[in-house]
């Protein structure tokens, strides 16, 4: 079983480990230096509620605008003010931007966590800290360089208000980092101008703070450090990020719901899904309000709990609107009852689950993939649902649209399983595109005219080849009226307690689910010559697993890749499972839920599937995957008779 390696330096990480002990400015091998341009990671340790979030996203955005592939992981507490919070930035010119725990530089702005933060710098790395107060001798390490800037002092001297003094400390280190890492100050200043266009006073103090931090660094340190940035791509438009955007999965999901034509959203606030509805609300205010009458072409209901939120979605879906909810694991637990109703009564619903760490309240601000089995079979009795697994914000956008189509096509709840890492962090993804010829697939819904042409209408008969029967919407005509019920019903929609009639409907529901395997997004399959095993993964594991596979390949360990993107599992998954004797299933939960689902729902033998799991709540690292696969390969080789 894999332990969470927060804070340890993984043995198997890329590149040779540098020698221990050099002081700041010491010579390091030239090759090392070269490799650290646009390939390093740094961590910012802050106090929650001090404005660090905007400083850190400013940094990440500046790097993105320099054309360099970058990721930012916000590791925040379940707290509004006072507790420690961290932000990790990784830049990688080749695009490997999964989380890494190997930090070249730590910005230590929280005295409370100095000890741990300083521990996390790799040997010969740097610690930037507020030297207004002396650092405890016990924290000092001889193998890293300490760069002290008296931020508190500088800000007290230069800013009058107490709140401003706190906030500007964080902005000031952006300036210092710009000098140390060679961030283009022009880019930073452009961003400030955009951000504070309407607030000239804030613009002035932010610019001043950045300049103070920058000048201090230029004056006191050898800038830039060997670990630094260099704008990529030359002419504008040619950089690796030129046709990319910086977006969170939750915003992309909200965009998907907007573009799919969702008009009703019902939700109950819960981290980490809340920003889906925040974004959807903003988008609706922008695009769905009549400029003259101020009338809204949407209805967003903040429900009293998740029981009600899903009820509202089901009511709206029953009535023909595209409706969705966004929640996290605890919400899914509560919604399970009515998910079964929607499944059995065959009502479309879209449920976005931005997964967090469970069980129970768990760790609300940490990421996990722990709801796979819960969502696959949510509710009592025999139920099976359609699941979509986006791996990044771009897929959040497209899969959300797809979820509405599938929900109406198959008249059933559809889950979009994102997670906190995808949902709340900014990701660099290709610019989202939209095909204006798209029209919603509303599935089989009879119009008044179609009803008139029928001798008689029954809700659950006849079925088409997909196992779907036509529905009618309330208000269409008396002829199309039927009684929706969660109680036992026959194929005509009438109440029944007869075994054969009950089973007939249940069997059709199973057929319907089975048919959906060809309609969910197909798995991503990548095969390589000489592959000796397969790796199966899902969702936000994608980048770390790809990086791990590349690294393993450089050591002659070659594996094929499969990323599941939907359930029920399509034929391409069955075929991949058949073609490989040994596969590693990489996922972020304790019990290997994807592995379980594969063994339950395909013909694969349990013994073919080895489990690689990381579930401590932080985004997956390539090093974790590499280490575990190498370990398991060695173990199986030991067991194998000579």
């Amino acid at each position: 079983m894999l332990r969470e390696p927060i804070g340890e330096t993984p043995e198997a990480s890329a590149g040779a480990a540098p020698a221990r002990g050099p002081e700041a400015g010491d010579e390091t091998p030239a090759r090392e230096d070269a490799s650290r341009v646009n390939r390093f990671a740094f961590k910012l340790a802050n106090v929650n509620g001090t404005g660090s979030a905007s400083a850190n996203s400013l940094l990440m955005q500046a790097i993105f605008r320099m054309g360099i592939p970058v990721s930012g992981k916000n590791l925040f507490p379940s707290n509004i003010q006072g507790l420690p919070t961290w932000y990790e930035i990784r830049v990688d010119k080749d695009g490997y931007t999964a989380r890494t725990a190997r930090f070249d530089l730590v910005v230590a702005m929280n005295a409370e966590t100095y000890e741990d933060d300083i521990d996390e710098v790799r040997p010969s790395g740097w610690v930037l800290f507020d030297s207004s107060w002396p650092l405890k001798q016990a924290f000092l390490r001889t193998d890293v360089s300490f760069l002290g800037v008296p931020y508190a002092k500088i800000c007290t001297e230069n800013f009058a208000e107490a709140r401003e003094r706190t906030l500007m400390k964080n902005i000031a280190y952006v300036g210092t980092l710009a000098a140390l890492l060679d961030i283009d100050m022009g880019v930073v200043e452009d961003m400030l101008r955009e951000k504070f266009a309407a607030k000239p006073k804030l613009m002035a103090s932010n610019a001043k703070a950045i300049r103070l931090g920058y000048d201090y660094a230029k004056e006191h340190f050898a800038c830039p450090l060997p670990t630094r940035l260099e704008a990529m791509g030359g002419p504008p438009g040619a950089s690796p990020t030129a046709d990319k955007i910086l977006i969170t999965g939750n915003t992309a999901t909200a965009l998907g719901a907007l573009y799919a034509g969702a008009t009703v959203a019902a939700w109950y606030p819960i981290t980490p899904s809340t920003s889906v509805l925040d974004a959807f609300t903003e988008l609706c205010e922008e695009y769905r309000v009549d400029p003259e009458t101020k009338e809204r072409r949407y209805c967003i209901l903040q429900a009293e709990d998740e029981l009600a939120a899903i009820g509202m979605v089901i009511g709206a879906g029953w009535n023909g609107a595209r409706a969705f909810t966004a929640t996290s694991g605890p919400g899914i637990s509560l919604m399970s009852e009515l998910v079964g109703l929607a499944y059995y009564a065959e009502i479309p619903a879209v449920i976005v689950d931005v997964q967090r760490v469970g069980p129970s309240t768990g760790m609300p601000t940490r990421t996990q993939q722990g709801d796979i089995l819960l969502c696959a079979y949510a509710s009592h009795g025999d139920t099976k649902h359609i699941l979509l697994f986006p791996a990044n914000p771009e897929e959040c956008f497209h899969f959300t649209v797809r979820a509405f189509d599938l929900g109406e096509r198959f008249q059933t709840p559809v889950f979009v399983l994102s997670d906190l890492d995808i949902g709340m962090n900014d990701w660099v993804v290709p610019r989202l595109t939209w095909d204006d010829s798209y029209r919603p697939d509303r599935g089989r819904v009879l119009s008044r005219e179609e009803l008139d042409a029928l001798p008689k209408y029954f809700r659950y008969s006849p079925e088409d080849w997909q196992g779907v029967a036509a529905r009618t919407l309330p208000g269409t005509s008396a002829k199309g009226a039927f009684f929706t019920r969660g109680s036992g019903h026959n194929k005509l929609g009438g109440y029944t307690e007869r075994p054969d009639e009950y089973q007939e409907v249940m069997d059709r529901l199973a057929r319907k689910h089975w048919t959906a395997r060809n309609f969910v997004p197909p798995a991503i399959v990548e095969t390589r010559p000489n592959a000796s095993f397969g790796v199966v993964t899902v969702g936000s594991c994608d980048l770390a697993v790809r990086e791990a596979l590349a690294e393993l390949a450089t050591n002659g360990i070659v594996g094929d890749y499969l990323r599941v993107r939907g359930f029920p599992f399509g034929p391409e998954i069955e075929s991949f499972l058949r073609r490989h004797d040994r596969m590693f299933v990489v996922e972020q939960n304790r019990d290997g839920q994807l592995r379980s689902l594969l063994t339950l729902e395909t013909g694969v033998a349990k013994s073919q599937l080895f489990s690689v799991r990381a579930y401590g709540g932080l985004p997956l690292q390539a090093a974790q995957v590499v280490r575990e696969i190498v370990h398991q390969i060695r173990e199986t080789e030991k067991e194998r008779p000579a």
Partner: protein, 351 residues
């Protein structure tokens, strides 16, 4: 009597309404409830009210939760879509349905278990949202389908069929609704059709959440000596304190009431609720006074009934949301999707 198929023969003497439909066209399937169940009388009153209001059955959505009361939407308006949902969850499903299509007339049928125990939260929040619906709470103080447990509306001291007294406080849906800001609150008795039909009609015309608590005795589990929800007890203690009738907009001129005896409250659609009997000093528009009156009278064991409180000025859910007039479910997709060019433009903010 559930094995009997309802006869489809029509009585030619039945009077058609403005839509040319007779009261038969507002009926549903044969009831499967116990003979003499109060709920069947309520069903008859609902049927009559829709007929008298000339409502096209297919423009009605009838929803319910789980329980004896929640079975009844099958027994009226077979031409309307029905939704027998889950225990205590109907208010949310109704809210979502209403969000999607504001053109339909919504009736939610529930019971005291469904609304006051498992669904207390959902009912309360539907009231707070002022969802435009008639909500009929068929209140018998007992769980029928599970054979006789006390419900949350059972009065303290009221006895079960086996003689055991209820020791917990009762939740009074009328006082609860008043405290939550309900805009239409009524109480009636299933045995008083003369009072119930006009209340249901007014509730259907009210724009906003209309709660009608109907004492509806359970003949099988709660109609014995010692029960405060029996026919006998209710008949003996019911005090119809307020009489009200709905005067539709067109019929206003022809309505006959003695001058001075009536208080008119104008509804959104131009119709009028005319109060023809109100106790001295009672104002059905004064929430605090109504609460005080009910508390004082209920403490004596009386069950004041009638359209007890009405505020037609409240902003129902869609008015508060400023939803467009066209039902959301019927908006053309083109009016909902901003399109590729807008997507390109808005992504400039994500650079």
């Amino acid at each position: 009597m559930s094995y009997i198929k309802k006869p489809s023969a029509r009585n030619p003497s039945l009077r058609p309404n403005a839509l040319g439909l007779t009261v038969r066209d507002y009926e549903g399937a044969m009831s499967t409830l116990c003979a003499g169940c109060g709920h069947d009388s309520i069903t008859a009153a609902i049927t009559r009210a829709f007929y008298e209001l000339d409502v096209a059955p297919h423009m009605v959505a009838k929803l319910s939760g789980i329980g004896c009361s929640s079975k009844t939407p099958t027994y009226f308006l077979s031409g309307a879509h029905g939704f027998n949902s889950a225990h205590g969850r109907m208010p949310a499903i109704l809210t979502g349905a209403s969000a999607a299509n504001r053109d339909l007339i919504y009736i939610g049928v529930s019971g005291d278990g469904d609304s006051l125990s498992i669904g207390l939260g959902q009912m309360s929040h539907a009231i707070r949202r002022n969802v435009d619906a008639l909500y009929v709470l068929e209140n018998n103080g007992v769980y029928g389908l599970t054979k006789g447990q006390f419900s949350a509306s059972a009065d303290p001291g009221s006895r079960s069929k086996h003689g055991e007294p209820n020791t917990q406080q009762a939740i009074d849906p009328v006082l609860l609704a008043l405290s939550l800001g309900a805009t239409f609150v009524a109480r009636s008795f299933s045995g008083d059709k003369g009072q119930l039909v006009p209340i249901v009609k007014a509730g259907l015309r009210h724009r906003g959440f209309a709660l009608v608590d109907v004492i509806s005795p359970c003949v099988t589990f709660n109609d014995h000596e010692g029960s405060t929800k029996s026919y006998r007890y209710t008949r003996g203690h019911q005090e119809p304190i307020v009489e009200a009738d709905l005067v539709p907009p067109a019929a206003e001129i022809t309505a006959e009431y003695a001058a001075g005896a009536a208080v008119d409250v104008r509804m959104h659609d131009g119709g009028i609720v005319r109060f023809t009997k109100i106790p001295e000093g009672y104002d059905p528009g004064d929430r605090d006074a109504v609460v005080a009156y009910l508390r004082a009278h209920q403490s004596t064991g009386a069950i004041p009934t009638g359209l007890l409180y009405l505020d037609p000025s409240g902003s129902e859910m869609h008015a508060a949301n400023r939803t467009v007039a066209t039902p959301l479910a019927q908006l053309p997709y083109e009016s909902l999707c901003p399109g590729a060019a807008a997507l390109d433009a808005l992504q400039r903010a994500y650079r």
